[in-house]
């Protein structure tokens, strides 16, 4: 029972944490982020299973996390209004070549970050962008003027 409860607490904590850190942090996976990911996994594991080395314990821990993941996914699917709370909503950050500063600030995205993401999509100039949308995953989608 203890592992299931711990699994629920850890899942809820991580879910809320991922929602509050902002999309900016979710989108990047720089070398330092990978190191953080490993440290995070290790720290969470200690609190989750502690000194339980049993197969039953591992199945309970993984099963709890998986069940909660499916549960939240179902809630997202079944209740669209809940989706905006659980997953957030896309955010328009460039319209007609003009960055929307208020929305960029909200997600702590600088013009340099935006230009870098655009370059990754083979877009040299921000003026060429019709729409740039920060998705709920933190990734930025670009729609060029020529494609719009």
């Amino acid at each position: 029972m203890d592992i299931v409860l711990r699994g629920i607490v850890v899942f809820v904590f991580l879910y809320v944490l991922m929602r509050i850190v902002g999309r900016r942090e979710l989108s990047s996976l720089e070398p330092f982020d990978i190191i953080l990911l490993v440290i995070l996994g290790d720290a969470v594991q200690q609190g989750l299973t502690q000194d339980d080395y049993s197969l039953t314990g591992a199945v309970l821990a993984v099963g709890t996390i998986a069940a909660l993941q499916v549960g939240t996914s179902y809630l997202n699917f079944r209740f669209p209004k809940l989706r905006s709370v659980l997953d957030g909503e896309p955010l328009i950050i460039v319209q007609d070549g003009k960055p929307i500063k208020r929305n960029l600030d909200r997600e702590r995205v600088t013009l340099d970050d935006l230009a870098e993401e655009a370059r990754k999509q083979n877009i040299a100039k921000l003026e060429d962008i019709q729409w740039a949308v920060m998705e709920t995953s933190g990734e930025i989608s670009f729609i060029k003027k020529s494609d719009a």
Binding site: V16, Q50, P90, I92, Q95, D96, N103, V133, A148
Partner: protein, 175 residues
């Protein structure tokens, strides 16, 4: 103006109508997280030890141990008895909260006797000469599944049947 991408609504996804307040919820939650971390820094969740001292006519008795702990933690409790006069048969009586749901890894130096007194743990230390100091170390580890709030973990110093000093304390064990 070019068409807005499908499923996007300018009022909501550009102007943030109806969702503008959410940034404040996010900031409040971040602040709560920060508060939690600060609480950790100032020892709300353990395991920094602190001292309790009782100075009586017969002896000065000091306990140095943490009272806030977490599951799985290794910690030490140090008992220091400075005898003002000869203690013929010093003994420590510990509430069950000391060992409930915990591993008692070692006691150094080993007491000359262990017994139960009214459900408490009684450790007989023996003779302590006037002017000398007796120091007892106990090493514990909290069982990972052990959780407890305000659990009694008193300790009393006796000389034979005579009560010399009593330290009242509670232990909180966080999950």
């Amino acid at each position: 103006m070019a068409d807005v991408p499908d499923r996007l609504v300018l009022k909501r996804h550009r102007d943030l109508t109806g969702v503008r307040h959410r940034i404040w919820i996010r900031r409040a939650l971040l602040l709560a997280l920060l508060g939690f971390l600060i609480a950790g820094l100032v020892n709300v969740f353990g395991q920094r030890p602190h001292g309790d001292v009782v100075d009586g006519a017969a002896a000065r008795f000091e306990l140095y141990a943490p009272s806030h702990l977490r599951g799985g933690l290794l910690y030490e409790a140090r008992f220091t008895i400075s005898a003002h006069r000869d203690l013929k048969s010093a003994a420590l009586q510990l509430s069950p909260g000391w060992v409930e749901g915990s591993q008692l890894n070692t006691i150094e130096p080993s007491p000359i006797g262990e017994a139960s007194r009214n459900g408490d743990l009684l450790l007989t230390l023996g003779h302590i000469s006037a002017g000398t100091t007796y120091r007892l170390f106990m090493q514990f580890q909290i069982n990972p599944t052990n959780v407890g709030w305000g659990r009694r973990a008193d300790v009393t110093l006796y000389d034979g049947a005579t009560k010399l000093a009593h330290i009242e304390r509670q232990v909180t064990i966080f999950p």
